[in-house]
């Protein structure tokens, strides 16, 4: 690449990073506006049906709802920029601290799900495209449609029934961190990862197959085959490499679904992560926690898609900026 080529890529990267700022600003504005646009007095709703007038006044003061709107907003954004996500109504602890305590199981679950579904789905999609129209292709497509339709919690309970209740192979629920030994860690994480990864894997398998079919029809693939390259070299070295951009894109988009699924999966498997924190916050109407979690999850999603966009520069040097 020439010098100007490098600077073009550099400009693209900087521009792409700057583009995340307005997106996160909209997210922050939405999260703030929600509290004020919702019908009724938020303090009354958050306090619940059994609240006394004192409770309501206390919540109003705690959320700063007794101050003018612009002051509330400035104070809130100022806090955000300093990593202050507010104070939990129920526990009186800083939201950032509560989130930090719960982040490890969620990250562990997400990474293991990503690994399981990507390692499972991409080979399936590649083989389905290579043997398009065969029974293998049909099986993969049926898997893709079924996997997309079975809700996370239904699949989770199915797995628990098969592997924990009727056969006793795996623990019903719970979470063991990787420091607690590889065996217990794996036995606890395998079912949640499978349940959470199914929709994601179905999505990736489908996109891999579609993208591979496109690439396999190209002239350079025929050339590679004609000059006698082995099938695996053509499939992986030539085809998959060129089919990678849509696959990586769908992985980035699919992370949103993964985040939604985390909340449910953690509830079913009693994993003490951010999902459980969300559910507890819903039940207690602890709105600052819900706000903080939305911001953190959305930031994670924006970050993943930033990385996906940046990966294009490595995957396909032809993409122009």
């Amino acid at each position: 690449m020439t010098n100007s080529g490098y600077s073009l890529v550099f400009t693209y990267i900087v521009r792409r990073i700057l583009a995340t700022i307005p997106v996160m600003a909209v997210v922050a504005l939405f999260v703030f506006a929600l509290l004020h646009l919702s019908p009724g007095d938020p303090a009354v709703i958050i306090a619940g049906d059994t609240a006394t007038l004192d409770d309501i006044a206390r919540i109003r003061a705690k959320l700063g709802l007794d101050q003018p709107l612009y002051i509330q907003f400035v104070t809130w954004v100022w806090g955000l920029l300093h990593g202050d996500l507010g104070i939990s109504i129920f526990t009186n602890l800083p939201v950032s601290k509560l989130i930090a305590q719960r982040v490890e199981p969620t990250i562990t679950l997400t990474i293991s799900t990503l690994i399981v579904s990507i390692l499972g789905a991409i080979p399936m999609g590649v083989v389905a495209a290579w043997k398009a129209g065969s029974w293998i292709d049909r099986v993969v497509m049926v898997f893709a449609v079924l996997g997309f339709s079975v809700p996370v919690f239904v699949l989770a309970y199915l797995l628990i029934y098969v592997f924990a209740i009727s056969t006793d192979l795996l623990p019903v629920q719970g979470f063991v961190s990787i420091d607690g030994g590889l065996g217990p860690f794996l036995s606890h994480i395998v079912m949640p990862s499978l349940a959470l990864g199914m929709i994601f894997a179905a999505l990736i398998a489908r996109m891999t197959r579609a993208s591979m079919l496109d690439v396999l029809a190209q002239d350079y693939i025929r050339t590679a085959q004609a000059k006698g390259l082995a099938h695996d070299k053509v499939l992986i070295g030539h085809a998959l490499k060129n089919a990678a951009v849509p696959i990586v894109t769908i992985i980035g988009i699919g992370v949103a679904g993964l985040i939604s699924g985390v909340v449910v999966t953690e509830t079913v498997f009693a994993i003490p992560g951010l999902g459980r924190l969300t559910v507890d916050a819903i039940l207690r109407r602890d709105y600052p926690i819900i706000q903080g979690i939305i911001l953190v999850f959305s930031a994670a999603y924006v970050l993943v898609n930033l990385l996906v966009d940046l990966s294009y520069t490595l995957l396909d040097p032809r993409i122009r900026y």
Partner: protein, 294 residues
Amino acid sequence: MTVAPADFALRAAPATRRRGLRTYVRRHPTIIVGGVLLTMMALMAIFAPYLGTVDPQALSPIRRLRWPSAEHWFGTDMLGRDIYSRTIYGARVSLTVGLSVALLASALGLVIGLITGFSRWTDAIVMRIMDGLMSIPAILIAIALMALTRASLENVIIAITVADVPRVTRLVRGVVLTLRELPFVEAAHASGTGFFRILWRHILPNTLPPLLVQGTFVAASAMLVEAILSFLGAGTPPNIPSWGNIMAEGRSLFQVAYYIVLFPGAFLSITVLAINLLGDGLRDALDPRLARRM
């Protein structure tokens, strides 16, 4: 976006149209399978009172946690309520939410998409907002809205609609931007056709096929989100039986009475599968270029 085939099919002579319909249904059997399953679910929801059901809310403490039997086909829950009746009535909630959200989100997305597709300055602002909203996972938007309102079916529908509008808007805007540059729109413009007539006669009909396909997927995802919200305790109020509610009540009892979760879960999966099959079939039928690949 290729929308020409559908356009063509609509204008074809009646005899060809009928044959065309028959061949494409034969080529896309998923439309039949999905359509039949979905119709069965809809009939079941409508005729719920006549399907051997009892009052889904009727408590019967002495009949708590009975396993499925001739008397209680799907068993009873911890309050002695008949799960079969609750599951059949639960179809009403799921289908209502799916249909309402699909219609509302499509209508709102269509209007906003058409406006942003034609007006450059609203486009810049509205699409920034949509980008921001799309980076919040749909469930979290719905959870946040539900946490601030009282639990009711209407609020569930509104919450899920808000989360789905950006995706529809983006689709419609994309179609409009493509269509605007096509020769037949330019020709209409050049021959003096008014803006609203172009919109009504040329743009709108061509956005409908992709919108229909998207609508089916919105309906399927809305049903899943409703079930998840109810399952987490932030959805349909407990006095209305919904599949998510029944499963939420069976959650803590799963190890002793897994049938409570099993039946509503199976009905939910079958319904979502039916809609996805229908949507896949429609997409293949309306967009043959994509069909060969997906």
